[in-house]
């Protein structure tokens, strides 16, 4: 079977499954008792395994298989989820993600996942528990010893969990030993025959160069028991003593704590448990304890898994859409012909066709819309990991994930949002201690909202962190020559905050010490502008900041009121229309040279669209009675004078292209049923 043609499908689906695995796992973390989530996880894992095996990605299949074994036990209530199992599965997902990423990059998806496999197997066999159990009976071991880094820690942890014995060994040589380094070497040699040395203090190099006093210590993973070990070490001549302590997960955990605490714990328990009895678990030979980098890579979000969907190439949708507009033009032409020919059955057929095609239109137009959820769904895991690594407490609250956006926008908006969210966690939310000092709760909150407004979708990222300080921003901006001192004094707070987006702000940022905000924000801004949107930031120093991203719906559909101005047609988004009505000429008042009209007990400005747009063949001034459309922006309202209402319609938004970007009061265009282009009025621009 020729598989390459299925590769893109495989990649898409794997990403989806990994995404849903991540989500479900996060879910399960907060509701550990909910077995139905485990079922979902199991199903996703199972599908992923099957797919990758078919495609020949054996490593992915193997890892998911091990994961499945664990999940199967959980599903059948044979074991219960605990933090260790969660961590293991999260780690597995990370590995799977990097393997899939490798495949996307053209790789083979191979990776050494044996440490995770060992850990997963130990969960299945229960060994990780038996390895933990004696730890309780062995009480608190002296958590003396040497600090280990994260990698070494995880190796040790996994070895313990998979039933290997981990020892902390302190070897002292005789006081009058002549060849200290040689003796040390012999010890190392003896040990390496029985297992693996994870870390030595001083380091092996230093020991070889005799840069140690009389003793050295090391972590050792093995399957031989303590007595044999002791014997072997003491067999080396000129060795005075060998203190061998079995390390369990508990004492290991203590090692990961800061040194001072370890020290305290150590004194407290003293040498209480040197004689700890350790169980000998039979295990296979030690292999593959080398650290494997499991790079956490974000995968682009796909649509949420739904059982009743098919995948369509977006270009085909575009083609369908364009063909459909052609069809609409023909429909209008047919309608005209039918009305001329005046034959009953022809008219009926054309009418029926019109109805069918407008239904068809609705369906076609909605095909491209995707809920913004497909981008948002990868953020909870990202925030969880980010907060963990920065040692902060962050709660991500997502609202409006069902808001729909055009697929092309969805595909592009992910990266800028990741950037803004990272900024929010990194620079916005303070550390726990700072938050407490500022009288806030220790957990910061990030609100991620999406909502429709007019012909735009807004995405807001708001946190309750430290906020932006005007003075600091201005200082940097002045230093970089973005503003002059004169200008700076006149800028509103909002304008000052928006300086963060200026290119040139970020590069200089690194040398100044302002909180680090602004790094790369110019890139975010460029990207969003490329999509035809805007981004702005508002902030209350001390109370947090809000980044607001406004996106156009490019190809999405809105309801609009079509109006006529002479021979020209325009569309006004229904969402900003308050009311339509008609006014008499004598109702128009002149106040300070501006036309105003009384409307529902207030006086609002009256704008002549025909004058504003220099419409060649129409002007309201000649009319006794004129139609108005009352539009609003926030609590401000304006009445627009038009020639005639054509009616309400669902319209497809089209951009005017880059060449015509930034036109006054025009936010885009749409193609009408007769194939003509009508411009869409942006009422926001008309209201100051």
């Amino acid at each position: 079977m020729e598989l390459s043609q299925y590769l893109s499908m495989f990649i898409d689906e794997s990403k989806e499954h990994l995404q849903s695995l991540n989500e479900n796992l996060l879910n399960l973390e907060s509701n550990p008792q909910d077995i139905s989530i485990v079922h979902n996880i199991f199903r996703s894992a199972h599908t992923l395994k099957g797919m990758s095996a078919t495609m020949g990605f054996e490593d992915i299949a193997a890892l998911t298989h091990e994961m499945e074994n664990v999940l199967d036990l959980v599903r059948n209530s044979k074991i219960e989820m605990n933090p260790f199992i969660f961590d293991c599965i999260f780690k597995s997902l990370d590995s799977l993600e990097s393997m899939v990423e490798d495949i996307i990059q053209g790789g083979t998806g191979k990776a050494d996942v044996s440490p995770i496999v060992v850990a997963l197997r130990s969960i299945v066999t229960g060994d990780y528990k038996t390895a933990q159990a004696p730890a309780v009976t062995a009480a608190k071991e002296p958590a003396k010893g040497i600090e280990v880094d994260e990698f070494q820690f995880s190796i040790l942890q996994q070895s313990i969990d998979s039933g290997f014995l981990v020892f902390y060994i302190e070897v002292s040589v005789n006081e009058n030993c002549v060849l200290k380094a040689a003796r040390a070497y012999m010890v190392f040699d003896a040990l390496e025959r029985m297992g693996e040395i994870v870390k030595a203090t001083p380091s092996v190099q230093e020991i070889e160069q005799e840069k140690f006093d009389r003793s050295f210590s090391l972590y050792f993973i093995s399957m031989v028991d303590q007595a044999t070990l002791e014997k072997e070490i003491l067999n080396v001549s000129e060795i005075q003593s060998a203190v061998i302590i079995t390390v369990d997960s508990e004492s290991l955990a203590e090692l990961s704590r800061p040194r001072t605490e370890v020290e305290a714990a150590r004194q407290e328990i003293a040498a209480a448990v040197a004689e700890a009895i350790t169980p000998v678990v039979s295990v296979e030979a030690i292999h593959n304890v080398e650290p494997v980098a499991t790079a956490v890579k974000l995968v682009a979000g796909g649509a949420p898994v739904a059982s009743r969907t098919i995948r369509v190439d977006i270009e085909r949708l575009d083609a369908l859409m364009n063909l459909f507009s052609e069809l609409l033009i023909d429909r209008v032409r047919l309608e005209q012909l039918a009305s001329e020919v005046k034959r009953n059955d022809l008219t009926e057929t054309v009418e029926h066709m019109s109805r069918v095609s407008s239904d068809l239109q609705n369906i076609v137009l909605k095909l491209r819309m995707v809920p913004v959820d497909s981008v948002f769904n990868r953020f909870p895991r990202m925030i969880r990991d980010l907060a963990k690594s920065l040692d902060k407490k962050v709660d991500l609250v997502i609202t409006g994930a069902e808001t729909e956006l055009d697929r092309t926008v969805i595909d592009e908006i992910g990266d800028p949002l990741v950037h803004l969210l990272r900024n929010a966690v990194d620079h916005g939310i303070e550390s726990i201690s700072d938050r407490l000092a500022a009288g806030k709760s220790e957990q910061g909150t990030i609100q991620l909202r999406a909502f429709h407004s007019g012909n735009h979708v807004f995405i807001e990222i708001e946190e309750d962190g430290r906020g932006i300080y005007r003075e600091k921003v201005l200082k940097t901006a002045l230093k970089n020559g973005l503003v002059t001192a004169e200008q700076a004094a006149k800028l509103s707070d909002l304008e000052v905050y928006n300086l963060l987006f200026a290119s040139g702000f970020s590069t200089a940022e690194k040398i100044s010490d302002i909180s680090g905000r602004g790094v790369g924000l110019d890139v975010v801004k460029t990207k969003i502008q490329m999509l035809g949107g805007h981004v702005q930031v508002d902030s209350k120093p001390g109370f947090g900041s809000k980044f607001s991203v406004q996106l156009p719906l490019t190809l999405s559909i809105i309801s609009a009121m079509l109006v006529r101005l002479g021979s020209e047609k325009y569309a006004i988004p229904l969402s900003s229309i308050v009311e339509t009505s008609a006014i008499q000429k004598q109702q128009i008042r002149n106040i300070h040279g501006n036309k105003m009209v009384e409307y529902r007990n207030t006086v609002i400005p009256l704008v002549s669209l025909s004058t504003l747009f220099n419409v060649p063949d129409f002007n309201e001034d000649l009319e006794e009675e004129t139609e108005i459309v009352v539009v609003r922006k926030g609590d401000k309202q304006v009445a627009l004078m038009v020639d005639e209402f054509i009616g309400q319609q669902e319209i497809v938004l089209k951009t005017l292209g880059k060449y015509l970007s930034g036109l006054f009061a025009i936010s885009g265009a749409t193609i009408l049923g007769d194939g003509q282009v009508a411009l869409i009025i942006d009422p926001n621009a008309l209201i100051k």
Binding site: E568, N614, G657, Y659, L663, A669, V677, L679
Partner: protein, 153 residues
Amino acid sequence: MGEEKKVIVFALGTEEYGVEVEKVRTIERMQPMTRVPKAPAFIKGVINLRGVVIPIIDLRSRFGLEELVNSDATRIIIVSAGDFEVGLIVDSANDVIDLDTDNIDNPPEIVGGIKAKYLDGIARVGEQRLLVLLNLEQVLDRNEIQQLERVEE
């Protein structure tokens, strides 16, 4: 012999212009346009080209030539240059020719009415024929449009 270069030939007034064939998407007949208010005068409007809205530039007006009433020969050449996709209204478009890059000279200092910076060069075709090669990027330069807008204001 230098490299071969295929160009679409179109006419504007008495002169013949060339634009590289790779930059031309299609050539369309004149069709109804939707006027775009508050746009520079040389932007005649937008059209619906099989579902895509495309701005149309009157090249005569863009180059400061006298505007003509559209005839049967008037064409819209849809070009894409850089990020832009626009249509250019020309008097007629009726030829595709191969140019030898050796026969292309740098634009002279002064070219009848049209600024030299809009030109990529002058190509000699056969004995008599001269072809002005357009520098589309310059013609469509946004900065210049903005400057023009300012002048108009």
